[in-house]
Assembly symmetry: C2
Homo-oligomer: 641 residues x 2
């Protein structure tokens, strides 16, 4: 086929292929040179890395037309077994159309995107409802030859008289519209006012009810957005997605490293998250049936690297000693300077930061749990790819950040997956026969293991003595579930026949080590903070576990592997996604913004990487539950030590 | 010639002509369909109307190739005499190339743009030097593991310690640059600070000296720009131009009318003045050898219509009763929102306005002359296409605007021209023989008459009784200089042989009436204000005459024709271009901006158009010098009445 219809500027024949996705029967027309990735996405094929050949999740089976496609890539050879290759398996993102014809593709069950578990809501402190943006309906008398006040001075007087406001400024945008809108509306207008200081928009008639805000929690792995009605102080729709920057690095350090290489890379990462947030805004607004132009403010929280990259600020120095952020103060930036598709005069507000690795998300956690107001000794842990830890002794607040990595999000774990339909989320291993019982999300056939299931698995394997104190899977135990596969020891959680993916779901030795690294990072952070403020484990009156992941965590398992201190379960509070809560609080209350500012001036930051005791603490915490078993009396008892 | 080189999308043959301008010999290649206007402009041919066939000034003589050109237009038939048409005269803007070939054009002397008289400087009040924008060099200690303050908080502390500044904000632009610039410069930077509140730029090293501002006076007819060194409080270069909006209307009302027709027209007028100002900035910066990006603030003054159009605010309602401006408050708008080519973070500041027809230029006049501080009864007149009149009785300030029209700028006057080389600027008529003596700018052969010459001419003709009280040229006086030409009576100021344009320079009956309309508008405004505050002519302790034109005005002549009250010459102060002075004062002193704000709240505006006594005053003032000759005792005496 010639696109140019025979005219001479089109020299190349464009080859067109028809792709049919089974079992849904969706059809696409694609051209030679394109990969099957976008079509596969449209046909609901899973991908974590965004089509970069990094995650190996976009598995498809070519049923017909394999001769029209590119040969196997290095990535495919890495992620697909010989049997799978023989069965026609490919990675959609690596499969390039080379010739015209018909291609039939089957989407295997394990590649279908399941319904993801809803973002959990978070604990939220009750705060004064007083958003930064408000609308006021105003009717002013039209000017006459004896009352010839200019338009701006006229509405300022009206706002004073009718709403007791002392406004002095108007945005250039609103000013330009003012004369026409005043007269078109018969001098009945709605004014959008920012911070009780500046008029930012003028509309005809009474539009007071059309006032929305959007709060976003930019996680390293997940991004969650909340559309709020700023009149009713109510979430009207939510939307969430995997952080679209994942293909450029799964953790904070690799993203900083990518962004620091050259200004273009920073621009790419910045644009990627902006596009992602625009997508969330669009989705939430569609759900609620609201025009995104009615969003007058966006509040974002995120760790410092996510914050800097979102604002297009070079994050390079966050990763270089002495790990200095560009600022910690809260920030207002015009939405149009960031290309956020909301009201053209809207601003983006970010809560302040604490340090290079403790960001606005941690500030949000503190605001939502109000630990800064508690007089008791309290610990707050927000578990994520980066885990923020905050300790209060009732007087002082200190914090640190632990590089726990993405293991709990399912990454770097052989059968790791998100907490979506079919994910094994709870595991119990019978210490007698070493056979597991598990529960999956939505009680569907298992497809993989999500974060809470992984921690359960390690804890249960440890309790059942399948793994030792060093995390080694005991090959000496003679059991059909404990075996070697390609020289790597593994324990079978679910047999092929039970699963939806037609293969055994296992925990490998590598998976156990990944979890040990992650939990050791967290525990050593907690340990160092407690030593700094001289707080003993039994003195803690409460431990808040924040973050969506923490919400599903089995705290007993977390204690057994030594991820959190050994405290009674009734002292543990699952705070949920408090980063999101804090963002919403800041969106609806100016007072929260003021408190946040004071808070970050008060809190001290401890840099773990340079703390002299860190290495020792970390190595001690690598063991299960800890080198010093006396710190974990509950575990000691369970193991009969 | 075919532009497409034979490809089929270009169906039309493009005809190319070569144009040679004599006597300079400049050559141009032009295409069929184009007029000779742009080439003529490049060859220094005069034009006031911008190529619209309105002013008849772009006269050229076709020496060769007349058969290649369009036939005579209506405008040409209006502006060119039969003799001239026979001699090959054309208007460049009306002459369209129709065929390929060679065209030789002579530029007659009267069409050559003369060197314009420099913009006069204005009276300027001494004010506290304290510009809104300042630069501070700062060296801060680099962060360490024990001093890990973020970059922004670090420089804020530095500014506090070293410069005693309490800065709380930083522009997004500066923030983005901060981390890299700090480290590239070894933590030695220059901060540009706005209003002692916000950091707007960060540069490496010490750039304190590179700090400039630009002040612009946007007159209806003329635009003047002043490039100022904001360290030395010194004008380093000036540039001026005719207002490039003139083709869209010579006076304020016709421009408002054009801009109000549709949003596109407003955009065109807005863009035209912005382009003009960018041109002035470029010129002034080239003269001074300065990069325009070192201009950190632009201050503009202009009448209300010029102000609104410059800011792209619809001026429609200025011309409709009750003549309401959109605002009177001073205004700050980002230069990038207006596409002004200076520093990207610079702002454009406008002094406040007073009313629909008394703008920021009048505020500038008041600031520069300081009449708001004087305890005496004082009058201020800024003569222009719109004349602003301000009266103080020592306690109250009132003002009005008189629609005097562009006659004093040389427009609508048969031999009117700008005050450029060869313009007759002073005239004396011997009452005995009725022959004139004149002086031209630069003492060159006369080419026309400029504003001051026109007023002199009318005053002298009146004194010599060539014209009567009603302005009628007395045809009954038998003199070779008084004659009829095409039924219109005229008085010859200079005979063909004396002039540089090879034709008689005359004052026609129409010219006299134009001046009467203009002076009556001004005098009736003065008269109404004085009645409002009950100030008598002999009580005036001073009359400031502002405006570049006013500077060259013979005040005796102005009194004789009844344009200004009959007061002793020693009470008249020629203040010069005080609009420009006020703009410069606002650029260099924040205090001036504060005073301006207070001033506009204090001053009362009188709308002449709706004043019940206006019609009577205007008709009385149409006579020479006035219907009530007793108001002009000096004139009475001169005329021996």
């Amino acid at each position: 086929m010639y696109i140019c219809k025979g005219r001479d500027f089109c020299l190349k024949e464009i080859k067109k292929a028809e792709i049919v996705f089974q079992p849904l029967g969706r059809r696409f027309i694609m051209y030679a040179g394109e990969s099957l990735y976008l079509a596969a996405k449209a046909a609901n094929v899973e991908s974590l890395c965004g089509g970069k050949g990094l995650c190996g999740k976009c598995r498809i089976i070519i049923k017909e037309g394999e001769h029209l496609l590119s040969s196997f890539s290095t990535a495919e050879k890495k992620f697909l077994s010989k049997e799978e290759i023989n069965e026609g398996y490919r990675l959609a993102c690596q499969t390039i159309i080379e010739n015209a014809g018909k291609i039939i593709v089957e989407v295997p069950f394990e590649s279908r995107v399941g319904k993801q578990r809803l973002a959990v809501s978070g604990m939220e402190a009750k705060v004064e409802f007083n958003p930064n943006i408000k609308k006021y309906f105003l009717e002013v008398p039209p000017p006459t030859l004896s009352d010839f006040k200019p338009d701006f001075e006229r509405i300022i007087e009206g706002l004073k008289v009718k709403h007791n406001l002392n406004i002095k400024h108007i945005s250039y945008y609103a000013l330009k519209n003012l004369p026409i809108i005043l007269r078109n509306s018969g001098f009945k207008i709605t004014l959008t006012v920012k911070a009780e200081k500046e008029i930012v928009d003028v509309e005809e008639g009474n539009k007071e009810k059309e006032l929305y805000g959007f709060a976003v929690d930019i996680g390293t792995t997940k991004v969650a957005g909340y559309l709020m009605d700023l009149n009713r102080n109510k979430v009207v729709a939510t939307a969430s997605m995997m952080n679209p920057q994942i293909p450029y690095g799964e953790d904070v350090i690799s993203r900083i490293s990518y962004a620091s290489k050259n200004p273009l890379n920073l621009e790419v990462l910045h644009k990627t998250i902006v596009d992602g947030i625009n997508q969330l805004i669009k989705e939430a607004c569609e759900k609620a049936g609201i025009n995104p132009k009615l969003i007058y403010e966006l509040v974002i929280v995120g760790n410092t690297a996510m914050h800097h990259i979102f604002f297009n600020i070079n994050p390079k120095f966050l990763a270089l000693s002495p790990y200095i952020p560009t600022l910690k103060k809260s920030l207002y930036v015009k939405s149009k300077d960031l290309n956020i598709n909301i009201h053209s005069e809207a601003e983006v507000y970010s809560l302040p930061l604490i340090a290079g690795f403790v960001g606005a998300d941690a500030v949000a956690d503190i605001l939502a749990t109000e630990i800064y107001k508690l007089k008791d000794k309290t610990l707050l842990i927000d578990i994520g790819t980066n885990t923020e830890i905050i300790l209060s002794d009732g007087l002082n607040l200190i914090c640190c950040s632990a590089a726990s990595g993405p293991a709990f999000e399912g990454a770097h774990i052989t059968h790791g997956m998100r907490a979506a339909t079919g994910a094994i989320e709870k595991i119990w291993i019978n210490p007698e026969d070493l056979n597991p019982i598990y529960k999956t999300v939505d009680d569907e056939k298992p497809r993989g293991i999500c974060g809470s299931g992984i921690i359960d698995a390690i804890a249960e394997m440890f309790k059942a003595k399948i793994i030792d104190f060093n995390g080694r899977i005991k090959t000496e135990v003679n059991h059909s579930r404990i075996r070697k596969n390609n020289k790597i020891t593994e324990y079978v959680i679910a047999w092929k026949e039970e699963t939806a993916i037609n293969k055994d779901i296992v925990i490998t030795q590598k998976d156990v080590f990944e979890v040990q690294l992650a939990k050791a990072a967290i525990y050593s952070g907690i340990s160092i903070l407690m030593k700094k403020l001289n707080v003993k484990i039994n003195e803690l009156s409460k431990v808040f576990i924040a973050g969506a992941f923490g919400f599903y965590l089995n705290p007993e398992s977390a204690k057994i592997i030594g991820m959190i201190p050994d405290i009674p379960l009734n002292k543990i509070v699952f705070a949920g996604n408090t980063a999101g809560s804090g963002a919403r609080m800041a969106l609806t209350s100016k007072k929260v913004r003021e408190e946040a500012e004071k808070l970050v001036d008060k809190i001290s930051y401890i840099e773990l990487a340079t703390d002299p005791s860190f290495e020792h603490e970390f190595i001690s915490a690598l063991q299960l539950p800890h080198k010093n078993i006396n710190l974990f009396p509950t575990v000691k008892k369970i193991l009969n030590l």
